[in-house]
Every structure is written in structure tokens, then in C-alpha cells.
Symmetry: C3
Subunit: 458 residues, 3 copies
């Protein structure tokens, strides 16, 4: 009781101060380090003798925009399925994305595009930053409703850093291929979030159980997220691939894989549903697993059939995971995974990594011709055999799982810092703690919420 | 009563088995027939001496993505206007699209891109498959709420096949121009669905009448569909045209036509509405008729004025159709058209085909210059006069109407197979049969709103 | 009371007649003046010896589509936050956009692309028309809920005209740079709407106060608008810039600026909110101010740090404006600004213009190299110094404020014409006056549905 005004005052200042501090820090680092790259700098671009139409912008920007929609609209609304947590789902997605985009520009820049002490930015760095933000938002899905915005910003602070290190190890040190991020984005984001959620385990979470569900229209809002993610996923996986056939092929593989995961999700959802009814949770999530599972192999010569098979498998595993595995995770492993990111990003991400191992191991000069240099440059140059590339891919998965787990554990400890202010067990999945919420046109809800509010302020 | 558990068990297995069967079949056919085309195959692309930037991907993919959004987001949400059928509208759109995209890749591939026994796929085949899916979703609109998902999949199985045949006859055998599909997509999809709906006529459908309407927020969800369709329609009509001026001109014509159909829809809706009030059904649908009506002629030298006039006419006809013709269709012709596809796709599609006849007949070397070969190759090569091209266009419409009607009839018979499980007359337009539906909440605000309502109407 | 049927009859005819009249007029003007430009005309394009891939379409159309989504989806849904005005917000946005696109094609065409007595249209004119529509929709935000559709069409009629004149004066006569329209779009649209709203001041507006708020789901619909605006804003500012580095750089600057305005908005909103709670109004609007503030300077060598600083400032000013300035505007200046366009477009627009003055004044040959000619052609040609360009930029702001204020005043007088039919003070922010509105999840339907539920599960 006595602590209540102080906590309210603390909350009042915690988020603003953290936002201002982080923004101030990134702004200073931007001033010192970040510069336009040769494609965006007026003087440098015009000193070359190139036609405007050669600017990389025209080959990457449409893909970037699709990715940007997925990160902001897709993830935000996908998580808006909860009846009382739509403002936070969409709003904190927005906040986390904004911060992660700046911060990962710096982190990824240090690792990947440092030129003469300066980080060079352009459309590629925008795509990469959005990819990193996607990983942060995947982790957000695991702890959705159980963490405050200040906690989430600290999570992003740590996760972006480790994402950058892991990505650097995989892509630059190990020469692993992972254009669409089955490992670097999905596996990393999922297991980081899951381990973090484990560290934050709340034994009393059933006090908020009544809010852990959707209402009719919140499920439709979530479908906005699902459908935009589904539609633009071909752009996601292909955004950073080599130009030409590579980018083209990746979109095609992703497109087919997603159609197959959708069909297997509908099949399995009806099969395991009570009275053969479909479950919106499956449709909203598992249908997307086809995009995750070809994140690594999408740019390879997977074949259209291979894409269908991969998508089918991913949709199946994901749906069964939601039905049978998620309850076990909580009951046996004390792992509370709000959005089921283990089913959408975790298992399909690992499957995608393994599929990458397989397809890389099968790569031949015959199948890729002179294109082998684009997809597997080290194999083309004779530095590695295809089998050896496959082993590196597998090693990349293990590295990712390690970074994600250790990082998630550290993140969990960080987020348990006592001065941070998580929602109480009885107030999880509830917008009202962090937002001014308008009346809902529903008496009883108002009544009970008003009662709860007193509770919260206690 | 006795049959009820058995029917539930049957339903439980029908959809899963059908999904798995269809997916298995298309996967096998993909393994045997489908191959990357020269723009997506690593070895073939790199054996040519072409720059990555020449890859067709960069000229077609942004349009493809817009089309893909229209098919998945646009159609799905446009049909989400029903108060209790949002899950099914969005969800079955998703399911049907996923299946139709695979199946039409095969069917259209057999007809249009068979090379040495293999179907070649790339961004053009993705666009074409999405077009075919659009036709299926148009037909879905006619039977919305009255058919189960297993029935819908069988409908798609048949419709995609006939769509492919009809398209082949028109484009390849008759040399008809129909880039945006006034005939092949809109007319075909609408009349296929309407005849099918006629065969499935339910005399007792008024038992579900109370669910055949919107609620406030379901109408806003539907507007998401409308606005995305409206915004991206220029990309739809131009996606498969010749590159360069043709694609550019098509977007311009579609853009103007849509603005005019919007103005005429608002005008007519207020004119025929009670107390001059606008009707959301008109705005959601008829405003889009401008996109349908220039589906054939959009790539031709329609002139900006011609586009405005066509759009204006289409919006007018469509709005009047919703107001006056739909009730007659049901009362006199036993035709229950849930979404009014006759008004949005049927009549405007036929008008669009006739407009194509007119504009083709007026084509001159003077107006098209050396561009005549792109738009009317057979006329440019001297194999046909413009008048003769116009006659072929007209014949294409008749062929389409024939295929659509016969196909819709066959489809209706197929969907009446006794073991299929349609919703009972009293349970149409109801998600709960096929979906786990969460509670809906809020009673009380209703009271005060009803009070206001009286107030407002005073 | 006696006037009520007559007024209803008047309303019944006013909107239809105005739509038909305006559409008729623009159609005639299109017939006389509007022609395909050389990139869309079949004969002209093919008479040049150019490759299809050189068509401007491929460099501008993806940006155009993003802008088009912003105008139709973004503005429409952003204004759908009101609990009882969603149909009007989205619907009238649609109507105004449709008319403004046609009308501004004519007006801007007369000023900017008249060739031999004909207006040439293509993707650039589509972008420009959408920009003008954006200004009209900004003004709409100031009077949202207090004006009928016929009034709004008349507002658009006048505003498009003055927008065209102002734009011509700035860009063509004064040689001012303003690619993303901090002045021509945001400042102009905001102050036009604000002065107009002032002239239409309603002292009795508190009679509708109870409808001037959101409900839970209307706020989520508004977030659809916000997120699409946020995501696509880089395309908005860059759509009309010089191709190559200019377009690329503008997207980068806008992207960074928006991340910073988002962080400062969250910080300030929580800081000034009761109990540290975030306010959806701020998040929906002020987070976008970063896009407005770099509308002028985005194509210049602003530097990534400069973009962050500008965005941060804009988010701060905008949030504080919503919190402290809007109430004062109404209380002291009788200015009722429904959406707070002064905070999102007015102040950030002026700031953006001033930032343009600053960055233009700092332009050096060293920083821009040979690119100076693209960004500041008059400076590169030696006709002006950078300082002089800065003075012209400042003068452009003053001209814009003058045109907007005088225009808004005239507009207000026009809209007060007695035969026009504004909503009464007690019926503002209410869809029911202009729309057939369905029941709102009516009780009795619920009752019967609950009964049916048992039935279905049997």
C-alpha cells in the first residue's frame, strides 16, 4: 500500500527516462559513426559515372518495404489476438521496432559495414536492421503480456547486441548461408525469448488466465497480421539474397512453401480440434511456418516440390506443437510461451536450419552451374566441399542455439532487476496498466477492471 | 438426431482428408512436372550472359506483390462484412487461395508453359496463379456462408481446371486480349459462382436471415478489404501486360476508372438510399467496379476520358444492381448471391468485355504506332483487321459465359454429393460450425446506443 | 421539426447532385485536355528507340503504390478512431480522395505539365495527385465529424485549386525545394483546415462531446492507419525526388527520423500521462511527426544524425502539442481541431520548413559534389548562393501560410452557405446521419446465437 504512489511515480519515470537515454545514446553514436554509403551520398554517387537506374535502391527497396510492413504491421497485429492487450501488442511492437532499428544499425554496422571507422548505411542496412527487429519481436511474443515496456527495451538492448554477434559469427566467420534467417532470426529470436521467459517464470500466472484468450474481433485483427506476413514472406526471405535468379528463386520457393503449410495447418487443425472444428490460433500462426522453414534453403535449388514438402512438414509440426507441446512446455518445463513462438519460430526455424544442411550438402556444380558462386561462394572457389558446407551449416545452428540460450538467460536476469516494474501476476495481459484505455461498451468488464485497478495501484 | 455424432465425425475427417489428399496429389505432380524457369534456375540463368538487373523479377515482382495482397487481404476482408462469419470469410479465403495457387500452377502450366514435358515457373506463373485464385474467390462470394470448406475445396478443384481451359481458349486459340481479366477472371468467376449458387438453391434460407447482415466493426473490417483492393487494382490489371508503356498505361486507366466508379457509387447510393443515407454495401463493393470494367481495355488506348466514363458507368450499374437487381435475382430466379458478385464482377465484367470489343474495334495504326504489335499482335501482323479482333473479343465473352455456366452447373452437382456436409439452413453465415469461436462480450453499452439511435433518427 | 422532411429531401439530393456535377465537369475537362504522356502513349513511346525497362514506370510506380496506400488506407483508418464515426472517416476519405485525384490531375496539369494545350499524365502525375489528396485529407482531419460530405467536396474543390497555385508558386516561381511536402502538403493542409475550422466554430459543440472519443477497437483500427503511414512514409517523401542517390537518401532520412519521433513520443506520452500511462492519441499521431519534419530536407544531405535529431524534436513538439496546446487552441482561439492536425501536420510542417531553410543554407559544393545540381539546381548553376536558397525556402513557408490561411478562410465562408447541410451540434461525430448503420452486436441476436450454440454443438 505504502509503496503504491512510489511505484506509480517510478513507472511514470522509468519508461520516459529509458527512452530518452537510449535515444540520446544512439543519436550520439550516429553522429560519430554513421554515414551515407556510396549509393546514398550525393558527392560520392555523382563522382562515379553511374546511371541513376543502377542505384541499388531500385533492386532492393520494394523488398525492403514489404519486410518493413511485416515487421510493423505483421508482427504487431499478429500479437493483437489477446482480448485486453491489443494496445500493448501493437504499441510495444512499434516502440521496440523503432529502437531496434536504430540500435541494430549501429551493431550490425560495426560488424558488417565499417569503412574507415564509419558505418555506411543504405537500403541493405535498412533491411538488415528490420531483420534484427523481427528477431526481437519474436522474443517479445514469448513474454507477451508479462513484461513492461521498460523491460522490453532492455531486452532489445541486449538481444540486438547478441543478434549482431551471432550473425557475424555465422555469416562472416563460418561462411554459413541463411538469407531468410531460419537460424539467425527465427531460431535465435525464439530460443532467446523462450529461455528468457523461463527465467521469468511466474507460478501464479493463472491469476490472469481469464485474460489469456481472444474475443471475436481481436482474432480478426490478428488475422490482419497473419495475412500480411503470409503475403509478404516471399519478400522477406529474398530481400538480402544475391540479385537476379537468387532473389527470384527465393520468392518462388517461399510462396510454394507457404501454400503447403497452410493446407497442412487446416488439415491438422481440424483433425485434432474438438468436433473437427478449426482453431484460429493454428490458422493465425502455424500457416506461416512455411515461411520460416525455407529461410535458409529458399535461395538454394530446393526445387518447387522441395518447397511444398518443407512447408507441409512445417505446418504439421507447428500445429501439433500448439495442440500438444505448448501445454507440456508450461506444465513440465515451466515455460510460459504466450504466442507459442516455439511452434511458429522455434521448431520450424530448427527444421529450416536442418533443411539448409541437407540442401547445402546436396549442392552440385551441375545443379547450380555458374550460379554456384552466388549461392555457395566458398564451394565454388573450391575452399569447401558441399558436405563441408553442410557441416558448417549445422555448426551454425548449434552456435545460434548457444547464443540464444545464454543470451536469453542473461536477458532474464537483467529483466528481473528489482527496480524494474513488471505487471503483477493478476494483471498480466492487461493494457490498462500501461495505457489510458477508453470505455469498452461493456458494463461488467468496466466494473471488474475498475476493481482491479485499485488492486494494481496497491 | 441419431446422425448427429456420425455427421460430426464425418465432418471431423472430411476436411483433413481432403486437404491431405489434394496436397499429396499436387505435391506428386509438382515433383514430376514443375521446374524453375530460366529466370529462376541458377544454372540456366548464369549460363546466359545477362546482368542480374535484367531478370524479369525486377519488372514484375512489385506488381505481383500488390496482386497477392489483393487476393489474400482484399478478398478475405471484403467478405468479412458478415457479423458471424468473419473467421470463415478470412480463413476459407486463405485456404482456397493456398490450394488454388498450387493447383492452378499445374493447370495453367500445362496449357501455357510446358517446355520439354516440364512446367516452368517464375514470377509470371505466380501472377497467373493468383489471378486464377481471384476467380475462385469471386465464386466463393456467391456461395459465402452456405457451403463448408470441403465443398469449397472441391469447387476450387473444378473451377481452376475450367478456368485454365477457358483462359487457354481465349488467349491462345482465339487471340483475345484480356490482361486484367474482365472476362477470364471476373465474368468467369461471377457466373461460375452464380450458376453454382443456383443449383444449391435453399428455399429455407430465411432461417438464417438474421445473420445475413453486418455489425459496425465487421463493416470496418470489410473496408480494409475494399481499400486495399481499390488501391492495388492498377497493379492487378497491369501485372501481366507487355512491359513499358503498356504496363504504365494500364495502371493509369485503372486508377482513373476507379476514381469515377467511386464518385458514381456515392452519388447513386445516396440517391437511392432511405433518407439519402449511404449504404456500406455499395461503398464496399460498387466503388470497385471501375477496376473490373477496364480489365480488358485497360492496356489499350482507352484515353483517360474513356477510363473515367467506363468507371462511372460501372459504378452506376453496380450500385443499382445491389439496390434493385439482387432482390429480384433471389425472388424470381432463385439465385442467392451472398456478396452480390453479380453486381461487382458479373455485370461490370460483361461491360468490361464489351468495352474491350469497342476499343479493339477502334484500334488504328495511327493511335498505337509501332506499339500496335504489343497490344494487338495479330492486327499488327496483318492477320486480322481491328474489326475482326473486336469480333474475336466478343466471341471470347460468349465462350467465357458458356464455360462459366456449364462449369458452375457441374460444380453445383458436385457440391450436392450427399456425403458432403453443408451447413443446415438454420446455420448458414455462422462461424461456429467450423471454428472454435471465442466469447463475444458486451451487452450494456447496447442499451445506451439504442437510446441514441432513436435520438438521431428524430 | 417541420423542416425535417425537407431537410432530409435536400440532403438526399445534395450529395448525389454534387458528385454527378463534379464528375461531369472533370470528365469533360479530361476529354478536352488530358492525354497520355510520352511514357504511356503507345505510339509515342514506340517511336522512341527505348527499351521497355527504361520506362519511368519501373522507377516510380512502387513508390506511387506506397503513397496510394498511405492516402487511402493510412489517412482513412487513422481518422477511424472515433467510436461512432468510422464509416464516415473511412468512407469520406475514399470519396474525397477519388474526387481530389481527378481534380488535382487537372489543376496540377495546367500548372506543371501542359504541352501544346494538353495535360500529360503518367506515374508522376499520379504521385502528384495523391500528394494533393493528402493535403485535402489533412484538412479533413481538422473538421472531422463536423461537416457533411457535400461540404467536404466543396472544400476539396477549393483546396485543390489553391494547393495547385501554392505549389506552382513555390516550386516553379520561387525555386523552392519541398519534395516530401513539409510546406506544400503538411503546412498548407493543416492551416487551411485549421482556419476553415475556426470559421466554422461551433460554440455548442459540447453537445456531441460524449461521442468525441474512441472505444477499444476503434483505437486499433486507427493503429492500422498509423502503422501503414509510418511504414510507407519513406516512400512518400522520396516519391518525387530525383532518381538515384536522391531517392535512396530520402528514404533513409525519413526512416531514421520516424524511429526517433516514435521514441520521443513514447517518452513524452508516458511522462505527461496520468500515472505514467501512455495515450493512444499520441502514439497514433505524434509518432508520425518524424515523417512530416523531414519532408523538405529529406532529400538533402541531412546526415543520419540530423534525421534522428529532427524526428526526436518533432515527436516531442507534437506530443506536447496534443497534451497542452490543443485544449488552449479551443478554449482561447475557438479552434476545434478534431484530429489535432496542428500537432501532427501544422507544427511539424513548419519545423520541417525551417529545417529545410537551415540545411539548404548549409549546402556546400563539398558536401554534394556533382550531386548539387540534382538537389539545388539554381545553386549549382550559380544563380543563387546557398544562403539565398535558404531565404527562398523561408519565403516559401510564408507564402504557404498565407495561401493556406486565406484559402481556409474562403473555404469556411463557402461551407457556411446556408443551403449546405452540416450536422447539428448534437449530432456531430455520428455516422448515423449520413449512413445506414447496422445494429451494434445487438442483444437479441446474441441471445439467439447463444441458444443456437447449444444446438450446433449437439
Amino acid at each position: 500500500m505504502a509503496g503504491s504512489p512510489r511505484r506509480a511515480a517510478g513507472r511514470r519515470l522509468q519508461l520516459p527516462l529509458l527512452c530518452l537515454l537510449l535515444q540520446g545514446a544512439t543519436a550520439i553514436l550516429f553522429a560519430v559513426f554513421v554515414r551515407y554509403n556510396p549509393e546514398t551520398d550525393a558527392a560520392v554517387w555523382h563522382s562515379g559515372n553511374r546511371s541513376s537506374s543502377d542505384n541499388e535502391f531500385y533492386f532492393r527497396y520494394p523488398s525492403f518495404q514489404d519486410v518493413h510492413v511485416m515487421v510493423c504491421v505483421g508482427f504487431g497485429f499478429l500479437m493483437a489476438f489477446l482480448q485486453r492487450y491489443g494496445f500493448s501488442s501493437v504499441g510495444f511492437t512499434f516502440l521496440l521496432a523503432a529502437f531496434a532499428l536504430q540500435w541494430s544499425t549501429l551493431i550490425q554496422g560495426f560488424f558488417h559495414s565499417l569503412h574507415g571507422g564509419h558505418i555506411h548505411v543504405g537500403v541493405q542496412s535498412m533491411i538488415n536492421a528490420d531483420f534484427c527487429a523481427a528477431a526481437v519481436l519474436i522474443s517479445f511474443g514469448a513474454v507477451l503480456g508479462k513484461t513492461g515496456p521498460a523491460q522490453l527495451l532492455l531486452m532489445a538492448l541486449l538481444e540486438v547486441l547478441l543478434f549482431g554477434v551471432n550473425e557475424f559469427v555465422l555469416l562472416s566467420l563460418l561462411g554459413v548461408k541463411d538469407a531468410g534467417g531460419s537460424m539467425t532470426i527465427h531460431t535465435f529470436g525464439a530460443y532467446f525469448g523462450l529461455v528468457l521467459s523461463r527465467v521469468l517464470y511466474r507460478p501464479q500466472l493463472e491469476k490472469s488466465q481469464h485474460r489469456l484468450g481472444s474475443v471475436y474481433h481481436s482474432d480478426l485483427f490478428a488475422m490482419i497480421g497473419t495475412i500480411f506476413l503470409w503475403t509478404f514472406w516471399p519478400s522477406f526471405n529474398s530481400a538480402p539474397t544475391m540479385l537476379g535468379d537468387g532473389q527470384h528463386r527465393t520468392t518462388l520457393n517461399t510462396y510454394y512453401s507457404l501454400t503447403a503449410s497452410t493446407l497442412s495447418t487446416f488439415a491438422l487443425s481440424a483433425l485434432v480440434g474438438e468436433h473437427g472444428r478449426l482453431d484460429m490460433v493454428h490458422i493465425q500462426n502455424a500457416a506461416l511456418a512455411g515461411g520460416v522453414v525455407v529461410g535458409t534453403s529458399g535461395e538454394m535449388m530446393l526445387t518447387p516440390f522441395g518447397a511444398l514438402a518443407a512447408g507441409f512438414l512445417a505446418g504439421t509440426v507447428s500445429t501439433l506443437g500448439y495442440k500438444f507441446f505448448t501445454p507440456v512446455l508450461e506444465a513440465k518445463f515451466k515455460l510460459q510461451d504466450t504466442c507459442g513462438v516455439h511452434n511458429l519460430h522455434g521448431m520450424p526455424g530448427v527444421l529450416g536450419a536442418l533443411l539448409g544442411v541437407l540442401v547445402a550438402g546436396l549442392a552440385t556444380h551441375e545443379a547450380y552451374g555458374d550460379g554456384l558462386g552466388s549461392v555457395f561462394p566458398l564451394v565454388a572457389e573450391g575452399q569447401r566441399s558441399a558436405t563441408s558446407q553442410a557441416m558448417y551449416q549445422l555448426f551454425g545452428l548449434l552456435v545460434t542455439l548457444t547464443f540464444a540460450s545464454v543470451g536469453g538467460g542473461l536477458g532474464g536476469l537483467l529483466l528481473r532487476l528489482p527496480f524494474l516494474d513488471p505487471p503483477p501476476d493478476s494483471q498480466c495481459y492487461e493494457d490498462r496498466i500501461y495505457w489510458e484505455v477508453p470505455g469498452e461498451r461493456e458494463d461488467e468488464a468496466q466494473g471488474s477492471l475498475r476493481a482491479e485497478e485499485t488492486d494494481t495501484r496497491a
